[in-house]
Subunit: 388 residues, 3 copies
Amino acid sequence: MPAGDVIDVFDRVQVPEKLADHLRTVELVDHHVHGVFNEPVDRAGFEESINEGSTDPIPGFMTQFDSPLGLSLRRWCAPLLGLDAFADADTYWKRRTELTPGELADVFLPPARVARWVVDTGFKGDLISTPQRLTELSGAPCSEILRLERLAEDLLEAGTAAEAFPEAFRAALTAAAANPEIVGTKTIAAYRTGFDIDWSRPSDTQVVEHARALAARPSTRVDSPVLIAFGVHEAAERQLPIQVHVGFGDRDLDLQRTDPLLLLPLLRTMVPVPVLLLHCYPFHRQAGYLAQAFDHVNFDVGLGINYLGVRSTALVAEAMETAPFAKQLYSSDAFGPPELHLLGSVLWRRAMGLELGGWIHRGDCSVEDAIRIVDMIGVHNARRVYGL
Amino acid sequence: MPAGDVIDVFDRVQVPEKLADHLRTVELVDHHVHGVFNEPVDRAGFEESINEGSTDPIPGFMTQFDSPLGLSLRRWCAPLLGLDAFADADTYWKRRTELTPGELADVFLPPARVARWVVDTGFKGDLISTPQRLTELSGAPCSEILRLERLAEDLLEAGTAAEAFPEAFRAALTAAAANPEIVGTKTIAAYRTGFDIDWSRPSDTQVVEHARALAARPSTRVDSPVLIAFGVHEAAERQLPIQVHVGFGDRDLDLQRTDPLLLLPLLRTMVPVPVLLLHCYPFHRQAGYLAQAFDHVNFDVGLGINYLGVRSTALVAEAMETAPFAKQLYSSDAFGPPELHLLGSVLWRRAMGLELGGWIHRGDCSVEDAIRIVDMIGVHNARRVYGL
Amino acid sequence: MPAGDVIDVFDRVQVPEKLADHLRTVELVDHHVHGVFNEPVDRAGFEESINEGSTDPIPGFMTQFDSPLGLSLRRWCAPLLGLDAFADADTYWKRRTELTPGELADVFLPPARVARWVVDTGFKGDLISTPQRLTELSGAPCSEILRLERLAEDLLEAGTAAEAFPEAFRAALTAAAANPEIVGTKTIAAYRTGFDIDWSRPSDTQVVEHARALAARPSTRVDSPVLIAFGVHEAAERQLPIQVHVGFGDRDLDLQRTDPLLLLPLLRTMVPVPVLLLHCYPFHRQAGYLAQAFDHVNFDVGLGINYLGVRSTALVAEAMETAPFAKQLYSSDAFGPPELHLLGSVLWRRAMGLELGGWIHRGDCSVEDAIRIVDMIGVHNARRVYGL
């Protein structure tokens, strides 16, 4: 990317120059992300795509632009569309509609300066770009994450008999572990059962029984604690890293039942493959505690970074409390508008610079240490965890 | 109010002047407040009235002036009594005793610059001023909130037969909905049952049964989940906004059972009238999440603003994380000393100026957007929600 | 201590000079602390001793020096070993190995400027120094805390018959209450049962039954809610202050079951002796609430101060929200390396200066009030609570 394309994420704030230079340009691993929209969306669809919690249309009395995320979007994305920073919502929207999805990706993906996307392909896969397309659009390679519940559903929908389900699931995971493009797995137990379940490893007999019950239902949506625990333990046995959706998400989940502390029974007893606690807001302090307490536990504060906008500085700061710096990763959890792929990166760089810059300024950290912390969280930890 | 009466809430701090000017003078809607004391209180009574959590006298080894709220009171209220800022507790108290309740109201209410009080009249109604008296004292009109549990108790105490209770309750709510002075309702389920109850809509048969059981007890204190859920659903059916006490309150409540996430089963299934999550500390991040996830959910961080004193800046900042700006409201939750009606306003204005001023200073927000955010939270959202 | 030994905890930050002078030199009561290591430790042992949560060796891919605590240790402790601030981990370790445990204590204990250590002797008592030795090393007197579960275990291990257990326990507590060196007790219910137990006072019959069941087991590890509640109520009846481990600790505990709000049933009904909620992170806001709500409840944010390192400033700030200033205490909860005894003190002084200095700077507090708050939390409250 030409030097002119480096966004000055420290415009109007003071950050020690060496740290600022590094943060402006370091190429990140975005360890949990989705594709960009393949097709144009209308304004209602766009506004819904920048509201994580709701599953309804945005009501008439408001616009989602009037939110911390919307404000940051107007601040950082409008200039990339040739508009003034803080262009109003209508102006932003009008300009955006003049560009195709591919052009929008061209505008927003490269300045995110992401060296590798680790893509979760498990959700609404046909609305958004494949990893291959994301690589074409961004110029950066992708690795893939296999969603465990999706795998189970695919097997059952393909007609796998309940009796054959455990072996078929294991075979698929073994194949995934041998596939260099797949670097880990993910569970959305948060959405399906909450974390307050029996996490002990089920027997095949139990698994067959639950698979049979599921196959008899109109939908194969996996919401059986037995099938979910089965998936996690099988992935662990194959040394596959396991991403876990934690906390912040849409209102289908019972947020209080996604407190990561409820995972303690699992974390204490599982085969200790890398566990990646994703998002975690507002339980990020609990997640940091777990990352300190268990060698195999790591976490991020993705998704929250985008949704908190300017306040992501506080979130990023709170995420550097008890966890060793080797146990935190960067992610955007962007899904849909490529603005989100960019914003995650811009807001994280900026927040790290403001927080670590403050540490340096007050004599609490050296510049070299700050840069090392940035590299661990932004790049190296993901490489180690996923073997990239 | 003469210009001279505008309190300089930004004394000694730097806030962009246009925003500062607006925040000093904008007339707020205090959407959840109580009256002021009608009679003089002694010092013990005063100190108890500035401690929210305890229900005991303040012990001899301390004074409640030595708290964040006490410190802010000495900072902001002492000068209005003609004392130096930070006058000591004894000096403050001595001066305060020289004024009648009416004179104290004259001192503290007008500079709060509140355009309308939305008054909860359900608690200790005879110790404190009526809405009519609050209007006389402050010059600002009042609207009223009907407490649902109080209504049920009033009906039963007036001898309503259990069999007639459902209809009588509905009739009273219908009358309230037609009364322009009553703009909403409130539930104190937090104090009576906690939020981990069955929120489904009960049948009249169930309601009658619970009303009968209650009528047979020496006290008519409503603590039946069935009667509470009944009240909420009936209010919703009549399109009445519903305030919900959440979090911070006195020690009679089980604070952990007032986590607003426990309201999810209600929020997902109720008729979607405006729900106002009140106070919310220390669950304000959870409340903000709900306000993003549900179109009909709104929240405030009143009460906490006063009790955190100087630290209210952090609370106000944390309240601007995930919720759209259209979903937060201002309140003081003042009760008793008119200092609290003033302090809520002063501390909120100051905190908003410090936080938003920081956003502007670092280029994260325009001045115009900051002013718009102030107006939404401080004025417009309340007008929309209650139809004022 | 010669003036030259005063650490400038405000190096490179601006704090009002009078407050800074006071904070640099005030002699603290460290109301919850353990001894220092009696013997040299190897590097693995040292790294484990600066990780609170884990019970495993530090894995090969990281060093615990790369954590907030490690960073603060390199910042504040390296210079006391004659190294540059931020000396790297290997350099630090090499220099440290040149000193005996006694020499390390000589380096780190006196500049902590602690006037009195209140020592919990209940854990790993033979690896670390006795109170007597801590006094020799530091020059400061010690008081002692009796661990209730340890007392029960000692009695049973000494062969006390189950039938005699209640009386023997009471007699031991009565003796402790008469012993001027013992100023309080402690419960580790957090580790043994969690707080969601029946806290009502058990009958002697129940206690005997549980003691008998325990005596019949291979280990006398007290994990019976009945025996734990018995210990707490007996201590309270003898007017002994009761420290309660809350929150942050190693992964043996179910952190979510150590939310101090779960203590409400106990706090509401017990004989109101001083209760000291220890550590509390990440539930410190809940702890502050309880300290406001109950005259007999106090709290600290020890342990967390060390483990959050530079971020302890935020923790100390959040601990000054709702609680009266008379209800918070200072502690380090240091255990093992004397660096921790020093760091707790340095980080607390620094955090208090930064936070209170900000209050003063913005006109929210007078210098005199800030100094008074420091003295209450750092010295006076502990003296009052324990009768020192």
